[in-house]
């Protein structure tokens, strides 16, 4: 799975979770860039990513993830 392919699917996940079709994310996107991305939506997002890529993000990573780039790194490591 290439990084581009991950982003293609990840953008759809973000659009679905935040109910906004205009969202596109990149390596530097953080919770500050998306208005509704609070701690509750963070977990909704994590669960939606887990469902999309059929894997579990470890709790330690959930807590320390700082931007979308790190999320993509985790997906590329273990996601499908």
């Amino acid at each position: 799975m290439t990084r581009e392919e991950v982003y293609e699917r990840l953008n759809k996940v973000f659009q679905e979770v935040f109910d906004d079709d205009s969202i596109t994310v990149n390596d530097d996107t953080t919770s500050d860039d998306i208005e509704d991305w609070d701690s509750f939506e963070h977990i909704n997002l994590v669960v939606a990513v887990e469902e999309e890529f059929s894997f579990k993000i470890p709790m330690g990573k959930v807590v320390t993830m700082k931007n979308v780039g790190e999320m993509v790194d985790i997906i590329m490591e273990t996601g499908k």
Binding site: S39, I43, V47, G60, V62
Partner: protein, 518 residues
């Protein structure tokens, strides 16, 4: 040894000298020694055993986790989880043993009134351990970080013990992460900037506490001490001033602690970021007691939201309310936040704190979550300029009032008194007396006109520093750019004000810090 006492500053000076005279490799040993000396003078003798027990539990469990994590078998993984759970529960139980008295005394007291056969359990004859809420939270965070693989367990027990007892933060936090305090074990060189910044910050903290907070406290205590005389608008003065008192008290203490740590080249996490500039209650809690909020988010809220039962509730809710996404999300939100706010209130340690923090703020947030689409629509219909100063001011005042109403529970010595105070507040209409604001009546509450003027100047200074902080990150960064005579004038003026107008010395017993009890 209160951190505003003369003794503390002498101790700090002694510690500062000893620390930089120690060889770099042993500076952490000096810090440990200083922390134990501080603890000896600040708390009752045997309570150190509880800190020791907590540290032992963290040390053993984290090192079992280190060994077991390497093993890949499912049995080893099960063992890792069991060790982490035992260590966390053990620490919570230790905390509850020290802190829980108020729960079981109040709880069994209420039950005893309805069912006399149930005996009321008395409080334990121990005074609790200094900073128990803070170090317990730190230790739990450390164990979970080790469990999740976010940090490498500390192999040297004494180094881990220093993380638990590090003296500037022991009394009222901040709740530090182990990964942020690894600098405790490094070599530190004397730095003129650190010394200046540290002293300036301590001075600012002492000003907040001794000049502003303790003065406001006199007015508030005067009103609540005689509610038969002080009726009508008086209780409202107490209610509206209490956030100012608790803020200058807690953040003042924080400034002293962060400044003291800075003297040793240790930079602790910030606990406040101008909370009264917040535009909503949610934002308020991101700016107030930041380290507790961050701790509760990472170690309670996220794991709860990602737990199987809450995920199942989320799935059920999604299916049940297919057509209404908002309601579908609201149910798991309410459950997750319910647990989060319960822990936040429970951490404060009594039934009245559970009501004042957990119930109050959870309810307010739930209401604002339910009505947020309506308020968004209303703002659109009324064509409100949401970026205007006036709207921001309205939102900040609203947030202040919501907070002030909740912390009435904090200001009372007991649950019954707290509930009684709400009755008194809403009884104001029966005794309308708006003239008290103009005829000097407040000077009968133990403060003079000069005190009131000083408070006004103090609040103005606080506001100016807050504005500078919003703009420059730190007021002292702005200050550093000013010319030498101006800088010296400001710092000396502040020092003289504290010396002359600070409430300390014979005849004054500087009130203990409100957050010291947690």
């Amino acid at each position: 040894m209160a951190v505003t006492s003369f003794f503390f500053f002498v101790f700090l000076l002694f510690g500062f000298g000893l620390f930089y005279l120690s060889p770099g490799r042993f500076q952490w040993v000096t810090l440990l020694f200083l922390s134990l000396v501080f603890y000896h003078f600040a708390a009752w003798d045997f309570s150190i055993l509880f800190l020791l027990l907590s540290a032992v539990l963290a040390y053993i469990s984290s090192n079992i986790l280190r060994v077991k994590r390497i093993a890949e078998s499912s049995r080893a993984k099960g063992c890792v989880t069991a060790v982490a759970v035992i260590a966390v529960v053990g620490n919570v139980l230790l905390w509850f043993l020290l802190k829980g008295s108020s729960f079981w005394v109040t709880g069994t007291g209420i039950l005893h009134r309805f069912l006399p056969s149930i005996p009321q359990i008395p409080a334990l004859p121990i005074a609790g351990a200094l900073g128990m809420g803070y170090y317990t939270a730190q230790v739990i965070g450390y164990i979970l970080d080790c469990y999740w693989g976010n940090t490498e367990p500390q192999r040297n027990f004494l180094k881990l013990f220093l993380f638990v007892v590090f003296f500037p933060q022991l009394t009222v936090g901040p709740i530090s992460r182990y990964s942020d305090l690894r600098c405790l074990y490094e070599k530190h060189r004397f730095s003129y900037d650190n010394m200046c910044f540290g002293c300036q910050r301590i001075l600012w903290g002492v000003f907040k506490k001794l000049v502003v907070s303790d003065r406001v406290g006199i007015i508030i205590n005067g009103i609540w001490a005689d509610t038969a005389t002080y009726t009508g608008f008086y209780p409202w003065i107490a209610v509206l001033l209490y956030p100012l008192q608790i803020y200058t008290d807690f953040s003042g203490c924080m400034d002293i602690i962060l400044g003291a740590a800075e003297l040793f080249d240790i930079h602790l996490a910030e606990n406040f970021r101008n909370p009264f500039f917040s535009r909503s209650v949610q934002e308020f809690w991101q700016r107030w007691h930041i380290t507790l909020g961050g701790w509760a988010r990472d170690y309670v809220y996220y794991p709860v939201l990602k737990s199987r039962p809450v995920l199942a509730i989320g799935r059920w809710s999604k299916k049940r309310f297919k057509k209404n996404k908002r309601i579908a999300k609201l149910i798991p939100w309410a459950v997750g936040n319910g647990v989060l706010w319960f822990v936040m209130g429970f951490w404060h340690g009594s039934v009245q704190h559970i009501l004042g923090v957990s119930v109050w703020f959870w309810t307010i947030l739930l209401i604002s979550e339910i009505f947020s689409p309506l308020s968004v629509r209303l703002v659109k219909v009324l064509e409100v300029n949401t970026e205007s100063f006036s709207w921001h001011l309205f939102q900040s005042i609203r947030t202040y009032l919501v907070y002030a109403m909740g912390v009435v529970f904090f200001s009372a010595p007991g649950l019954r008194t707290a509930i009684g105070r709400y009755g008194i507040i809403f009884d104001a209409a029966k005794h309308l007396n708006p003239w008290i604001f103009f005829d000097g009546s407040v000077t009968k509450l133990g403060v003079t006109f000069a005190d009131i003027n000083l408070l006004i100047i103090g609040v103005f200074l606080l506001f100016a520093v807050a504005v500078l902080r919003e703009k420059y990150g730190y007021a002292r960064i702005w200050m550093q750019k000013q010319n030498l005579p101006f800088r010296w004038f400001v710092w000396l003026a502040l020092f003289v004000i504290v010396l002359i107008y600070g409430l300390y010395g014979p005849g004054y017993d500087a009130a203990t810090f409100i957050y010291e009890g947690f």
